[in-house]
Amino acid sequence: MKNKRSDQKSTQKLTKKATKKFTNFKAEEQWLESMFREGWALSGYGSEEWDDHTYRFEAANPEEAHSRKYRIDYRLLKRKEDFEDYRSLFEDAGWQNLAKSARYAKHIFWTDREDAASDIFSEDDSYKQREKRKMKACLTNVASCFIGFLICTALYVWFKYPGVMYAGTAIGLIGGLKGLFDYSKHRRIYRTFP
């Protein structure tokens, strides 16, 4: 009887959504860990390329561990097979991947296992390369904002439609500035490595 009741409870799990801005992987990992300590287990997140960072949480089971380790890797995996390979390597080593598709360049892993390696990287250079991949993605975003801005300007010149021009300027400025800001933040961390 008692079991049944707890089953019912778990089917109506409380959920919570959060939006937060991060430019530091370590700070993001620590925030996710502090959320877990408050009883919220990460259940999903947005790909972060264009939107803000969005997170979905579920109430953690009280039987579950009291603390959980979260680690973030940033790596664009183009092919589905690469993603499967990558994911199974981490899973074998005790780290669960939360993203459901290969479209995500940001990979959040978690583990409760005491025997899992204490981190997903065992070399300082790996942290440096993670920043480098993120910086490259930021610059790609800036470049595509600039191209978008040029296309809108060209459309305005040809069709004299000012709405297009305003939209283009907005995309170019907001997207481009965001990309540059993120780039500089990650570059600062990148330069702390030898």
């Binding site: 390597l89 074998d92 080593a93 990287f121 070399e123 790996s126």
Partner: protein, 109 residues
């Protein structure tokens, strides 16, 4: 030729012994070194990627439709780079031991 990182060196050594999939490499290195060398998955993935780009390792052709994990093996170039690195380490150790022994003798006198 740039000096190999410790992880890169260990991965090449493990693959020189036997072709293997990613986690198999981590396990073999851990077992043979009796827990001294622990490679984390994120670091290993980066190392495998770099080695593949430099053509020092390659993937073994998968059977069609099989869901097996990718298996890696060392290439002839990989073996060459590895043996150059082993020679370098041997020289370093010989030199270290010679000077170390010299220092100990001096201390005794």
């Amino acid at each position: 030729m740039q000096q190999l990182s410790e992880s890169t060196y260990l991965v090449l050594l493990a693959l020189r012994q036997e072709a293997s999939h990613g986690y198999g490499i981590i396990k073999r290195i851990e077992e043979v070194s009796e827990g001294t060398f622990l490679l984390a998955p994120g670091t290993l993935y980066g190392v495998l990627n770099n080695l593949q780009k430099q053509k020092l390792i390659e993937t073994v052709e998968r059977e069609r439709g099989s869901r097996n994990k990718t298996t890696y093996r060392i290439t002839a170039e990989g073996e060459r780079v590895l043996s150059t690195e082993i020679d370098r380490i041997r020289r370093l150790i010989r030199f270290t031991e010679k000077t170390w022994i010299k220092k100990e003798r001096q201390d005794e006198e």
